[in-house]
Symmetry: D2
Subunit: 147 residues, 4 copies
């Protein structure tokens, strides 16, 4: 996994989630397995704001890509009702795959909670890798480049 | 279970959640088991806006009450990325227990998705029922009565 | 909701789940919203043992029916690593709908944890109610009647 | 993340989970975020069979360690009702931290679905790192060494 920046200025898109009781565990903190879901919310919000509804709409095209790797590092625990800021960037655009990086911070007490990365491959209806669609590539490049 | 109103005017508090991919299932719609969690988000947001932070704070007092019954009726399916409006009311205040009612509608295409109810008992540190605290009772009555 | 028996002899099928850490919450007990999932595991295991693979196979027919109502009553809390016995019966077979009842007990310390019921409607590919297939009806009647 | 073996002979403990409907998503496969939970079930089962009940009991000691990093690679999708074999090994014992490796295969159609690793730090009641307890270290070494 490439190094993930902990500087929020390296991320041009931010969204937030509030911790639900169902996401905590018996230790009293957010169960670590939920961070992948939080980061995925960040990715979906990122795609939405890029105006790519045809990659977020009908079930058959619901996921523009399949996750082939996922990783997270944890720095501080989050608790019930905390508001998490999810900073998102598309860090890499390959031929058939792409990667997102995430930085999660605590909104009320600014500090790093977690970082993460995910790599996806774009698949056709037969689960075979295919080239990233041009509109996806262009929209992401325009956003990441201009910001 | 008492009858649950499908008229949103009977509810004085509303919050929203957006459907995550992790909450859908292989049928392509929200897995029914997730509605209890959505409704619970509604209850917690309701308590927050009532200014009862001592019932939402430290782990030991995290839940002002334990759920003793929960029920939902489903009318229409929800899909990934739909925005759900969760209408919430406290429908009953007993001596040691209380009940919430919920109406969930689709924000973009107004229609009823689900209704539900939950009953909780206030417990002390030994898991024994105790009387509802006065400030809780008064805050709820003031809100439900005045609205 | 009809009355749900707390006598395990009224249930002819039993399966079990062990509580995962991710299913507990910050109060230290199983989050109530997870019981619907436990009960659903019970229903799926029940259908499997009835030899109805064509109702558990391809995605399009994955759920023989859509949940229209779900309810649970809670009697005792469960904790991390507890083994739950899920007792299952098909309590009602209508023309297009059917109901399951559940009793959940603690395997190591026998006592009732929860009861529940769920009602489903059999749907065609256009989400319209249709008559229960004969093989489903017959397999369930044979199992419930003979046991 | 160190290289994770895809040879099941490198793992001396195996447990299994069956995919629940709630764990699939609208694409029809297991949502990737659930694999961390499956692997965690593997870790907990591993600790149980080692006879370390004091690390799995009361809430305060519920997790012998806090997760500081988690990573997974995905090779093939899993579907509803698939039985997953979770192969587990403790790959590293440090002074205050330790790591587990996981290999997940499909029981009915043997093939690799995912690999993963997790690193944990043992914490005292104040969330400060502390040395691994001797009985934990010895039990793990005895099991991994002798197998």
């Amino acid at each position: 996994m490439p190094s993930i920046s902990q500087d929020k200025n390296d991320y041009h898109f931010t969204t937030e989630v509030r911790v639900r009781l169902s996401e905590t565990d018996a230790v009293g903190i957010v169960y670590f397995g939920n961070y992948a879901t939080y980061m995925d919310v960040g990715r979906m919000d990122y795609l939405n704001q890029l105006g790519l509804p045809h990659y977020g709409g009908p079930v058959r095209d619901l996921i523009p890509g399949a996750v082939v790797s996922s990783a997270q590092d944890f720095y501080n625990p989050a608790r019930y009702n905390d508001i998490l800021l999810i900073h998102v960037r598309c860090a890499e655009l390959g031929k058939t795959s792409y990667s997102f990086h995430y930085l999660i911070t605590d909104k009320r007490r600014p500090r790093v909670l977690a970082t993460g990365a995910v790599t996806l491959v774009w698949l056709d209806a037969n689960f075979k890798p295919m080239q990233l669609p041009d509109d996806f590539r262009q929209a992401v490049q325009a956003f990441e480049g201009s910001a």
